[in-house]
């Protein structure tokens, strides 16, 4: 199902966390839950039918199940949607108490310290192909073909285990992208878990079909960070009751569109209170594949314009706020860093150089991770918006400082000399003579920076900020018409960036007579 294995990046971050002298968490999840009287559940809501966004709300199988568990425990569950890449990390940093995101239970994952509930869903990997492409019936048929997967998922693992060469496996951020690739004949088949594929194919990919039959079966569980045995015990108790009294079957019937494969429930019933799964990837003890209900014809449910625009406008507003605050802090900090870097006092210019080199030399995504997920381990726990603005500002400031530096250095040295000869000190000369000219001159590169910053804000979706790109992805996963959604997003971005470029042009015109001589 969804992503199971630590990517190299997360391993790197984990070791960073381990190297810090403090414990990774100030409070246990149980303490936090008692304090806030709610359970924060991290999820990547682009995974129908388990979790996806409709009308601005996260809904799905996991959400309904979580609500029932909450009722049993007596504490409400709040779902927070973020990019998969940030989902599991939010447990480690204490930003979330549980993860319900269709996470497969694996031995490797347990060794990493994640604690799983008893399995609550039996799923399996299956193959989607173009209609009538009978060359493909089993995973082994893909050995000499090209297959798409969502990266770091058990679909990828299944292909690798089936002996498909790594360079024949295309890894996409989202399952939908992989399916589009198959549809566009760039790859031959996609491998992913059955419920998600069934649902997505129905809604969005009429030209694709499921091969039928499950290639690898796997168990899905709720995840907590290590040591949260009390929380997991409570969740398990609740799950057992919900499964026993029919509520589980009702939720299953509601969300899983094919007829409930009896073996799924049977598989679950085999599991007793110790939480050990029936089967795991790599174990020999696999459950017989559940049979697959007939896939019905695609639903036609075009979203209305307002259904698309409303959430996008909300997302755009967050994008604008992020951009605004980032520039508000990034520009002054950038100026200060530029002045520090030009300082004749060596240690000061060294500090500024090191800052600029570190920021420029590392990816923005990494910086966002560190601020949101790693800082809590030294007891600096910032909310998502502040983390996002902080990371973006620190990043933008480094680039802006270089723009300022180049701009200041491009001003004729005679200007500073004339100002000094008139009795001005460095500050006064900078403020009234050098910087006003610099600002006029750096307007074009600054506009560039602002526009690319506006677009870079999409990276903060890993810390659960629903800016426009994230909102768009969530919409696209459920709409069945990703093309229309993505084109709309492109237009919204244009609408956001055009005023910036127009303002620049206006100011350049206004200052034209001044820049001569």
């Amino acid at each position: 199902m969804n992503v199971r294995y630590l990517s190299g990046f997360r391993v790197l971050l984990s070791s960073f966390v381990l190297a810090l002298p403090f414990s990774a968490q100030g409070q246990s999840a149980m303490q936090r839950v008692r304090l806030k009287n709610e359970v924060v559940v991290a999820t990547d809501a682009t995974y129908p039918p388990f979790e996806y966004v409709e009308n601005g709300k996260v809904i799905g199988f996991d959400v309904d199940l979580g609500a029932e568990i909450g009722k049993e425990i007596g504490i409400s569950f709040r779902f927070q949607s973020l990019e998969w890449a940030g989902v599991l990390g939010s447990l480690e940093s204490g930003k979330a108490d549980l993860v319900m995101s269709g996470v497969t239970i694996t031995q490797e994952r347990k060794q990493k310290g994640y604690l799983f509930s008893r399995p609550y869903f039996l799923s399996g990997q299956t193959i989607a192909r173009r209609k009538g492409d009978t060359r493909i019936a089993h995973l082994s048929d893909l050995k000499d073909k090209v297959a798409s997967v969502q990266q770091e998922t058990t679909g990828q693992i299944a292909l690798e285990k089936a002996g498909v060469p790594k360079d024949h496996i295309l890894k996409f951020d989202q399952l939908q992208d992989g399916l589009t690739d198959v549809q566009n004949r760039k790859s031959d088949a996609a491998v992913a878990d059955l419920p998600a594929l069934t649902r997505i194919l129905k809604r969005s990919f009429p030209d694709l079909e499921l091969v039928g039959g499950v290639e690898v079966s796997e168990n899905v569980g709720i995840v907590a960070w290590k040591g949260e045995t009390e929380l997991i015990a409570r969740v398990n108790k609740a799950l057992e009751r919900i499964m026993a009294d029919g509520r589980y079957a009702a939720i299953h019937a509601k969300w899983i569109e094919e007829r409930l494969p009896l073996s799924t429930l049977a598989g679950l019933e085999k599991v007793k209170g110790d939480g050990s799964p029936v089967s795991e990837i790599g174990s020999d003890n696999q459950v017989a594949p559940p049979t697959l209900g007939a896939v019905s014809s695609p639903l036609s449910s075009r979203l209305t314009v307002s259904e698309i625009l409303k959430p996008l406008v909300r997302g755009a507003s967050l994008t604008l706020q992020l951009t605004f605050y980032t520039l508000l802090f990034g520009v002054p900090v950038g100026l200060i860093v530029a002045l520090m870097r030009m300082s004749v006092i060596k240690p000061i210019s060294l500090i500024a150089s090191v800052y600029v080199e570190i920021i420029r030399g590392t990816p923005l995504l990494m910086q966002i991770y560190v601020i949101y997920f790693v800082l809590p381990s030294i007891h600096i726990n910032l909310n998502a918006f502040i983390s996002g603005v902080l990371a973006l500002s620190l990043n933008a400031a480094a680039y802006i400082s270089e723009i300022f530096r180049a701009g200041i250095e491009s001003i004729d040295s005679g200007q500073m000399e004339a100002a000094k000869a008139l009795g001005m000190d460095y500050r006064t000369a900078m403020r009234y003579v050098i910087l006003p000219q610099t600002v006029r001159r750096i307007l074009p590169p600054m506009t560039n920076e602002a526009v690319s910053l506006l677009k870079d804000t999409s990276l903060v979706s890993v810390v659960a900020l629903a800016e426009i790109m994230r909102v768009g992805k969530e919409l696209a996963t459920n709409s069945g018409e990703p093309t229309r959604i993505y084109l709309t997003i492109a237009v919204v971005y244009l609408v956001l960036t055009l005023p910036l470029t127009m303002l620049t042009r206006f100011l350049e015109q206004k200052w034209k007579p001044v820049s001569r001589g």
């Binding site: 004729d412 000094k420 008139l422 000190d425």
Partner: protein, 255 residues
């Protein structure tokens, strides 16, 4: 006016400006090799010499746009140092070869900026004063123009007015007409002649021998970083004693 040439030690006390054994090197290149100079109140000194003889460097050392390698500069008997130079620069104005007007400010703002920010004068006070100065350089009608809209000669006149706005005691001119088209030189020299005749203390690095002859009290010939010859304009320009001076004058006058 005649200024008898005195030895430095005698005249240093009543000088506005005195330079003692000033040396300046850029890397291994020694540009000034021990300059001694005393400037009296109201004195106009024309400094001549070939390019690279050190004229500019001497002027820039006086108001510390360059830091001297060794030697001392005194303004009204007070040593000029990095600590007090910002204050002293209000007293020692400078006009540059390439004007260096502030292109983002109007002519009027160019004149008022430093008095407003450095002397903390009021806007109305400075406006009146700036307009007076612009009248004097005959550019009152350009008060609201930007420097980029003016000719070179007009720009240099604005630059002179800008230097005057702080009411300095001494004015340093670093080849003020060298960047001008020949037909624009006259208007700038006219303004400078007026200033000289008003008794303002001026040190002018120049290639304009006519100005040196008519407006200066003393002419200094700089050669290879040293004062090679000095005296009244008639002494230096009409009856030079040193072969180097004669060579230089022959070159500039016959061009």
């Amino acid at each position: 006016m005649q200024f008898p040439s005195l030895s430095p030690s005698d005249s240093a006390l009543d000088s506005v400006l005195s330079v003692q054994d000033l040396r300046k090197s850029f890397g291994s290149n020694e540009v000034l090799k021990g300059i001694n100079l005393n400037v009296k109140e109201g004195e106009v000194i024309a400094m001549i010499g070939a390019s690279g003889s050190g004229k500019s460097t001497l002027l820039r050392c006086i108001n510390r746009l360059e830091t001297p390698t060794s030697g001392e500069i005194r303004y009204r008997n007070q040593p000029v140092s990095n600590d007090n130079v910002t204050k002293l620069r209000r007293e020692i104005g400078m006009v540059f070869q390439r004007f260096h007007l502030f292109p983002h400010l109007t002519v009027l703002q160019n004149l008022t900026l430093a008095p407003l920010k450095v002397l903390h004068k009021t806007q109305t006070e400075m406006h009146t004063r700036a307009m007076e100065l612009l009248e004097r350089v005959q550019l009152a009608e350009k008060a609201n123009a930007f420097p980029g809209e003016l000719s070179g000669g007009q720009q240099q006149r604005v630059a002179i007015a800008r230097a005057l706005a702080l009411s300095p005691s001494v004015l340093l001119f670093d080849e003020p007409t060298s960047a001008l088209d020949p037909e624009l030189v006259g208007e700038v020299l006219g303004v400078m002649r007026d200033l000289a005749s008003e008794g303002r203390t001026m040190i002018v690095a120049t290639h304009e021998m006519g100005f040196a002859r008519e407006a200066a009290h003393r002419v200094i010939f700089l050669h290879a970083g040293q004062i090679h010859e000095e005296g009244t304009p008639s002494q230096v320009l009409e009856n030079p004693q040193q072969p180097r001076t004669r060579e230089f004058l022959a070159r500039v006058l016959n061009r």
